[in-house]
Amino acid sequence: MSRMKTLASAVLATTLAATATTSAAATDPVKVGVMLPFSGIYAQLGEAGRDGLKLALKEKAAELHGADIEFIEMDTEAKPARAPELASSMLGQHEADFVIGPVHSGVAMGMIKVLRGKDTVMIIPNAGAAAATGPLCSPNIFRTSFSSWQPSYPMGKVALDKGYKDVYLISWNYGMGRESLEAFEESFKAGGGNVVKKVLMPFPSTNFQPHISDIAAQDPDAVFVFFAGGGAIKFVKDYDAMGLRGKIPLLGSGFLTEGTLEAQGEAAEGVLTGLHYAEQLDVPQNEKFREAFNTEYGHYPDIYAVQGYDAGLAIANTINQLSGDVSDKQAVIDTMAKLTINSPRGDFTFSRAHNPVQNIYLREVKDGVNVVTSVAAEALEDPARGCKL
């Protein structure tokens, strides 16, 4: 049920003084609009993204050529219906130079409707909807997270490499679920794999038991799923409770075991997932980032913080290369599109549709940790189907 909050429209403006004194003081501050969920079911994800964003801009303060950053925060919750209105206010009333958001794909569609083709640069720090860097792609829309296609596509090949010929697919019947299963099928079927059955459950039903009984009866070589959050916890626990763990391998898009491992406990051991990040990823900048984040906020970051941090890096590097002047919007877009982001997930660049070209790691849950066992796909680029850029 929705919250009766009108708080969303409250605007919090904070300024972060740049410490650099070398260059001439910039005239207007750079306005960074933050449109993330700070209440409702995705509040945790929104806070993580914002914290990452602010950390990056704080770390890079000396490289901003004296430009001041002004943050404008708006609570999008997980309400697509309100997104166009909030985005319009970011654009008209606040004249934001950059808009960071959102978490939820439905909200992303609402924001894109308003922001597409405008001067303000939109950076999506999570929502994976294919359309954002597909049919609805636009020069001013960037993404620092992933497309729904990316974590799942390499898993089809992973399944084949492991010798799984007959695979059972199950997810929720909504954008991210359908797109994830299709991406898996694409590489799996191309390599000669056979889909035993494909089940799309109504979202957000978590009555998994009948389906797991059906999986046991079908007895496939492996199962591939997309579930996230509370559903991911319950599916993995049910799968284990019905005795299938260790008998029929469970594969998934990385969100199956992201932020859920503690709650899943032993039931998650051995689950194989693909994702563009892992908390223990052995990349120098990951360790540095994790410690810096912990020093700043008193807890270690998750993938949502990484994606927010990378949005901050994209802004900071662009300002730096333009010597603090972001008034020429075409220059901002051209500069950002050519950046290499020194991300905690490893370096990445932007594709023609402005989606990250990034590694997808194969992870296996061992002792309650997503351990990276190999790179499932190197510098993987989303096909950006329907994008005319």
């Binding site: 019947n173 046991a216 019905m242």
Partner: protein, 287 residues
Amino acid sequence: MTTELFFVQLINGVQYGLLLFLIASGLTLVFGVMGILNLAHGSMYMVGAYLVWYFATVTGSFTVSAVLSAIIALSLGILIERVLIQRLYNRNHLDQVLLTIGMIFVFNSLQSILFGNDPYGVAVPGALDGGIPFTDNSSYPIYRIFAALVCVAIAGVLYYVVSRTRLGMLIRAGESNREMVEALGVNIKSLYTVVFAIGVMLAAVSGIIAAPMRSIVPGMGESVLITCFVVVVIGGMGSIKGAFVGALLVGLISTFSSVLMPSMSNMIIYIFMILVLLVKPQGLFAK
């Protein structure tokens, strides 16, 4: 579907239905006796699940946590009835709906403030962990069998209390003629407090029992509330027997429909409800 799979799904459906009964029983009891439509019933389910999760992480014992949580829920029920619900007995259903919807928001915010928005899980208690061999490659979790038995036991106790004890007699009397019971010298006020508190505790206990089988997430109360209402409406508002039959029907139908036609499964329950109401507008076992 093979015969074997049919029986497997039959068991799944019955097990799901029994849990639904437990959640719905408190709702129908409170409505039947007191005429109060408690929309915050789902929140009480959530309270049970969050409390048992919290105490389980603190104490490490599921049994201790379950007992503690149930006692707290009972006290909470008494408190809510005395402070809030009591003022609404002479008001109409709309006022009750307004108050109890407000309680949903309060409890959701409290959950967010006290426990945060991360999803949590409760481990299955050690003694009930594991499964018994079931089909060739799967087993049936012992905890789920245990949970089903607990639901049957609670159903039995409820039936016994309502139909065979003095308290049950008063409850039934209060249902049919409140003024007469009062005139005979029964303290109907405390009777109502007891009934409401039991209703809250039943919801919380179902949350406690469900906790190791479900994920503990914000909004979990609302998701069961709607199914609960379907169960109660099918069975007949206020009828415990109706809730039992309604819950089993809903459990079986949703299990089979989700396997046979997954994309339609959410709708089928409601279609079934509409069909029942066309034939019996008051529900199957309405009084």
